[in-house]
């Protein structure tokens, strides 16, 4: 199973070529980023705050335009093919959870009955089947993040972009959501690009980690995570996991030191 998801085996979904972004005030956020993302891969972008990880996600999503280079999509990506999960749940406070999750389908003009069914399914899959009619303010931080996940997945996207989605959650909720995210990924086989500044999180979740250096952001090194799937508690407590975390941590420190 793991092999199928390795980059190159089932082909690349997108390639970043010489991607660079300089803001109008002259700040260089990204410089010459080259990165291929395999179809069905779980890739983490790991780096310190302000290294341009989130910027890469926004460029891939088409929410920002690069100054140099570009994001090459191997297959044309259509509306609803990309899901985005922000660091905050980013739910509409005036709308019930079900209406929040249905939003992408509503915007695309999917017939109401079908959209409703798909949104209900999606909420059931993240364990929020009993909270369809709740309002965001009535849910805990973890539940809101689950709803955000359900919304991002409701269009059955080929690419899921996650921008430090669990960073604001407590440790226990975060670990649980890591497992839930992996379970969803195993089942739905989307390609995931996961931005994080946590070494442990990136090693646990990913098939591959792109380590980034500080501003202007660039990919300094890429590490393939040789851990078995599915990942669970036994992986987290195993010696291989610990060793990998130490290795990635060292590499991250080198990446930061090299450019400071």
């Amino acid at each position: 199973m793991a092999k199928q998801r390795d980059a190159g085996v089932s082909g690349d979904l997108l390639r970043l070529r010489g991607l660079g972004l300089t803001y109008a005030n002259g700040t260089r956020a990204l410089d010459n980023v080259d990165l291929a993302v395999g179809e069905g891969e779980f890739l983490s972008l790991l780096g310190p705050s302000g290294c341009g990880k989130s910027t890469i996600l926004r460029l891939v999503a088409g929410l920002l335009a690069p100054t140099t280079g570009g994001v090459e999509r191997v297959r044309p990506i259509t509306r609803g093919d990309t899901g985005f999960v922000f660091q905050e749940p980013t739910l509409m406070p005036w709308a019930r959870i079900i209406d929040n999750v249905r939003l992408p389908l509503d915007l695309a003009g999917v017939p109401r009955a079908e959209a409703q069914e798909r949104a209900e399914d999606g909420l059931a899959r993240v364990g929020l089947g009993d909270f369809l009619r709740a309002f965001p303010a009535e849910l805990s931080g973890g539940m809101k993040m689950r709803a955000a996940l359900a919304r991002a997945l409701v269009t059955a996207p080929r690419l899921l972009l996650l921008d430090e989605p669990f960073a604001a959650l407590d440790e226990i909720t975060r670990l649980k959501l890591n497992d839930d995210l992996l379970a969803l990924w195993e089942r739905e086989r989307f390609t995931a690009i996961f931005v994080t500044h946590s070494v442990f999180e990136s090693v646990y979740l990913s098939g591959r980690i792109a380590i980034m250096g500080p501003r202007p952001g660039r990919v300094v090194e890429q590490v393939t995570v040789e851990l078995p799937w599915p990942r669970d508690l036994s992986v987290r407590t195993g010696t291989a996991y610990g060793a990998l975390c130490r290795d990635v941590s060292d590499r991250l420190h080198r990446a930061m030191g090299a450019l400071i």
């Binding site: 926004r58 999503a61 088409g62 929410l63 509306r79 609803g80 990309t82 985005f84 922000f86 905050e88 980013t90 509409m92 406070p93 005036w94 709308a95 939003l103 992408p104 509503d106 915007l107 695309a108 309002f135 303010a137 009535e138 269009t155």
Partner: protein
């Protein structure tokens, strides 16, 4: 206990007022005792209630007009920066020019035979700006991530306005409406004071008329009814605000 304090203070105040007026023999045309005001309220009820109704109708009409034009113009401004740049200064001019100064002009233009229309226009001018400025601020106060999400899913301009910008602006619009509701009443009263000719027969005219005749109990009765109207408008708008925003925050309060 806390909720009982305001009425208790009010009662104490009225009692003191009554006692002072009686003990010191204050002439009724200087300060009528509360009991005389109550009697006037009772005896002149048909006249005063009819006037209250007229003032209330003008106020509500002006308020609704302010709400529609204020939100509508803010939406137009949001669609076109050029339009906003071109018109906003004039909205400000309309706002900062004292209503008392424009009132005679408007009354003349509209004509004394349609004085209620003049009052409506004047009350609208006063009530309109808070809705406009709050709605304009609210329409810009959209969560940038939500805006990105709408873009990502290819939302149309109309979908962004209807499903994102207007709901996001709702707390601002309601806050503006609450201010505007009170201002509409003030506008209606001030306009009637200026236009006051006898063809306008709202509460403000009753105040002028009673003042001219030194009928202080009726003047105070009309003032009391004006306060009641103001409180009523404020309470209704606060209730609507609470109800519409109750899901936004964990506590449920707006």
């Amino acid at each position: 206990m806390r909720r009982l304090l305001p009425p208790l203070v009010g009662l104490l105040f009225l009692l003191t007022w009554e006692l002072v007026v009686r003990l010191r023999d204050v002439p009724v045309f200087v300060l009528p005792p509360p009991s005389a005001v109550a009697t006037a309220l009772w005896n002149d009820a048909p006249l005063l209630l009819q006037s209250s109704w007229i003032t209330l109708i003008i106020t509500v009409q002006a308020f609704l007009l302010a709400l529609i034009t204020g939100v509508g113009l803010a939406v137009l401004f949001k669609q076109s920066r050029a339009l906003e740049a071109a018109l906003y200064p004039y909205a400000v001019i309309l706002q900062v020019t004292p209503i008392v100064a424009i009132a005679p002009l408007v009354v003349i233009w509209v004509g004394y035979e349609r004085v209620n229309l003049a009052l409506l226009i004047l009350a609208w001018i006063v009530a309109f700006f808070p809705v406009l400025s709050n709605s304009t601020a609210g329409l810009s106060a959209v969560d940038p991530n939500l805006r990105d999400l709408f873009r990502l899913y290819g939302a149309s301009r109309w979908q962004v306005l209807w499903r994102l910008a207007l709901p996001s602006a709702l707390p601002y619009i309601l806050a503006g409406a609450r201010i505007s509701g009170g201002l509409a009443l003030i506008g209606a009263v001030v306009a009637e004071f200026v236009a006051g000719s006898g063809t306008a027969t709202g509460l403000a005219w009753r105040v002028i008329e009673a003042g001219n005749r030194l009928n202080m109990p009726r003047l105070f009765a009309a003032l009391t009814l004006l306060s009641v109207l103001g409180i009523l408008i404020f309470a209704v708008l606060t209730g609507i605000q609470r109800r519409l925003l109750r899901h936004w925050h964990p506590g449920g309060a707006g």
